[in-house]
Amino acid sequence: MISREEALDVYQQLRTIRSFEEKLDTMMKAGKMAGFLHLYVGQEAVAVGVCSHLNDRDYVSSNHRGHGHCIAKGVDLKGMMAELFGKKTGICKGKGGSMHIADLDRGMIGANGIVGAGIPQAVGAALTVSVKKTGGVAVAFFGDGATNQGQFHEALNIAATWKLPAVFILENNGYGEATPAEFAAPMTDLAVRAKSYAMHSLVADGMDFFDVFEKAGEAIDRARKGEGPSLVECKTYRFLGHFVGDPIGYRTDEELNDWKTNRDPLPTFETKAIEMGLVSADALRRIDAEVTAEIEAAVASAEEAPFPSPEDVLTDVYVTE
């Protein structure tokens, strides 16, 4: 279980992701930003529940919906915000944008615009830590839709065959873009797919930090101990559209409202953590305010930051020294 201090930290991260994403949503809709934004609102407990077990020698690969994973893995908020504004001070100098945020120093090996492509890369990172015996683990985050990609299959098979310290976090939010998961696979419970690789699997309530924390902890522990990879299916839901600008229309309001009203990971965490005596509502409200201020500061600094120069288009293609 987690300590009081850790609980505050967890809430701070949940709130940061939520507020970061909501701020982006507002700014994008107001025409203040360009690009393709896939927001993580609703799924925060997954990123935070998993990354709470990780440290800097551990690796994470992510997907198109990557902001939450990046924040939970400790990527600098200002650098992320500036990146989304296409500024020179962005974590990727404005060259990558939302779907390509990475910070190798923090073990964040990349968001990814290709569904499924991050999965073998995490296995590659697991190979590195295994060959170099660093004691690290590597985690891949991906969606239900990605489990229908060949790369999911090939990567899990390799990880299992080589018994690598990898953990596969399947965020099952019920949709791949506009297509409901049940039209993309003959079943909606996807953890069973681990059986194809004789792999350990677990199912977590992806809306509940504590459940994700426990299940991911078990998987990460096993990986660290050399017991091989696991697949953890986290049942979750995205509260916003597939991307900012999605007309939605493929799901009913009732469905959405049910998840939002009854299973929002922030109130869920708050209620449980207060019940457990880990935090007070006051402390959380203070965090809310701090986070808001931090995000406003990140926006202000991103807005003020310079754009790259046009000539920068030509640099950073090859390592030249």
Binding site: K95, G97, V115, G150, G249, V313, L314
Partner: protein, 340 residues
């Protein structure tokens, strides 16, 4: 009668016509309906394709013929190849051409080679619709212009319209072609509008079109860069230079005759492509000119392309990345020795 339609609407119209005319035409791809199986909940085609080009098809032709797929590009393109070889005429959508990274084999080693390797006995009437190009801040994995890759593959045809009217006529011709065709739709043109004839018509694959006449220099473009070339032609006209602007429309088969005829007339050629510079159409046109157009050439053939870099995200960088009117004008000036 022609009406003004967007690119997307013109494509949509072509798909309606093709499906109506031929029961063998089926549509498969991610979100081509989108929530299409939830008719019971009043949801039929929430998306109608990522850009809306397949809207209305599932309602009219049913879920047997309009199929949302899992996110399995290699798989469903392979399915489309198998279906094409056995009697259907599938139109498969690979949402962005960048996703050929996970879908190349059905084109590279299967559809393109079946007829040949089976001794002329297969027909693979597959059309692969896909979105190409930069300019929408979609960053490097959703903005490439990889048609050079499909042109290089014997057995495939590759098409890229620059106007809604051509989009409709070329798509109908592609679907009815008995060969596998890669049909490229340019991201930055999807909402652009133009006059589109009503009814059923085809534009034959392999015919370029001269969209502006002028005797001083030939500008060759495709898709978006036809428009950039036309802007450049306007700018050049202010310098007193008249440009022929050739819209390739079909990249393979390539209408060499039209390109060479224009070059013969002008003696100078600039090829404008939003793809990266190496081993693409721009180089191909250069190689064509130096081989078959050698006697016509009064100046080096210049390529105005994207640089040899991934597509950057930042608007400032992406704008610089794209071929521009200014770069075309500069290339023509260079050919004329104006800036040396």
């Amino acid at each position: 009668m022609a009406r003004t339609l967007s690119f997307t609407a013109a494509l949509n119209e072509a798909l309606h016509i093709a499906m109506e005319a031929d029961d063998d035409v089926i549509i498969i791809g991610e979100d081509v309906a989108g929530g299409g199986g939830r008719k019971d909940q009043g949801i039929e085609d929430a998306w109608g394709g990522p850009f809306g080009a397949t809207r209305g098809l599932i309602g009219k032709f049913g879920p047997e013929r309009v199929r949302d797929t899992p996110i399995s590009e290699m798989g469903f393109l392979g399915v489309a190849v198998g279906a094409a070889a056995t009697g259907l005429r599938p139109v498969a959508e690979i949402m962005f051409i960048d996703f050929l990274g996970v879908a190349l084999d059905p084109l590279l080693n299967q559809a393109s080679k079946m007829r040949y390797m089976f001794g002329g006995k297969a027909r693979v009437p597959l059309t692969m619709r896909t979105n190409v190009g930069a300019g929408n801040r979609a960053s490097c994995q959703h903005s490439q212009a990889l048609y050079g890759m499909t042109v290089a593959i014997p057995g495939l045809k590759t098409v890229i319209p620059s106007t809604p009217a051509d989009a409709k006529g070329l798509l109908l011709a592609s679907i009815r072609d008995d060969n596998p065709v890669v049909f490229c739709e340019t991201k930055s043109l999807m909402n652009s509008e133009g006059e589109v004839p009503e009814g059923d018509y085809e534009i034959p694959l392999g015919t370029a079109s001269v969209v502006r006449e002028g005797g001083d220099v030939t500008l060759v473009g495709m898709g978006r860069t036809v428009h950039t070339a036309l802007e450049a032609a306007d700018a050049l006209a202010e310098d007193g230079l008249q440009a022929d602007v050739v819209d390739l429309r079909s990249l393979y088969p390539l209408d060499e005759a039209t390109v060479l005829a224009s070059l013969e007339k002008t003696g100078r050629l600039v090829v404008v492509d939003e793809a990266t510079p190496y081993c693409g159409i721009a180089s191909e046109i250069g190689a064509l000119c130096i081989d078959k157009g050698f006697d016509f050439l009064n100046a080096p053939v210049k390529k105005v392309t994207a640089p040899h870099t991934p597509v950057p995200f930042s608007p400032v960088l992406e704008d610089e990345y794209m071929p521009s009117q200014e770069k075309i004008v500069a290339a023509v000036h260079e050919q004329l020795g104006w800036n040396t």
